[in-house]
């Protein structure tokens, strides 16, 4: 450090503004803030609704996919009926 600066630094250290004490509850406030808080019930609602909605949609979609259309049913019935009676072209 430059010796010329010694008086300045000494003056600064002597007259540095005094730091005000923390408010009495500050430590407790900070420690409260870092502790994990239980999640309020209302915060559970959106995820639950979202999961239920997706499940419902998936269920309906899979049910819809598993069910043949009326045209397919008719074709199937016709084929069964025809093969049952041994129509030509259906049996070797």
């Amino acid at each position: 450090m430059n010796r010329d600066d010694d008086p300045l630094v000494a003056f600064l250290r002597q007259y540095a503004p005094s730091v005000p004490p923390p408010s009495p509850g500050l430590e407790a406030r900070i420690l409260r803030a870092i502790r994990p808080q239980p999640r309020p019930v209302w915060q559970w609602v959106p995820p639950v609704v979202a999961v239920a909605g997706v499940s419902l949609w998936l269920g309906m979609a899979s049910a819809h996919l598993g069910q043949p259309s009326s045209t397919q049913v008719a074709e199937l019935e016709a084929w069964v009926e025809a093969s049952w009676h041994g129509q030509e072209g259906l049996l070797p």
């Binding site: 600066d5 003056f11 600064l12 540095a16 503004p17 923390p22 420690l31 803030a33």
Partner: protein, 196 residues
Amino acid sequence: MWAAAGVNPLPTQVAASGHSDGALVQRCQQGDPEGFRWLYRRFQPRVRATLYHLCGAVALDDLTQEVFLRVWRGLPRLRQPEMFHTWLYRITLNVAADYQRQCAQKRSQMETLTQASSDRVAAPDWLHLHYEEVVRQGLEALSFDHRTVLVLHDLESLPQKAISEILGIPVGTVKSRLFHARAALRRYLEQQGVTL
């Protein structure tokens, strides 16, 4: 890091909690709030003093809280506990810089509140109070960069190498900023009638 270089500006305190800084940091990293309480008690005075000299008294409690909340959230990612001091000062300065930016938008209001806050300090030594106010205003007149280096070096007694690590700038830049900050402050003090 600084200790390895033979300089430890923040001497390890074991007596208060029975744990070294590193042990406390590790306890906090495991999510132990009681460890964090000791860490807070150990470092709060320095953090608070730095924030006060950089930002004043108005939001001091809130800024202190913000620093320690950022510390708590960031501790799990701190890979080198021995770098805790540097890391803590970095967070402190980031919080101070954020606050300065906010203040720039509502400076006149803040100055009024700061004045009111200063008025609350009661002491019988009026000359001492006068000089404290002169120093406070002198620090406030400096740019944030110059004030930061001056506070860390001359008031917090951190070595220049440590300051360069905290700020991420070369030691030469620290020296340069310190030189200009002191020159500006000396001029200000002389204008206020202070003879050094």
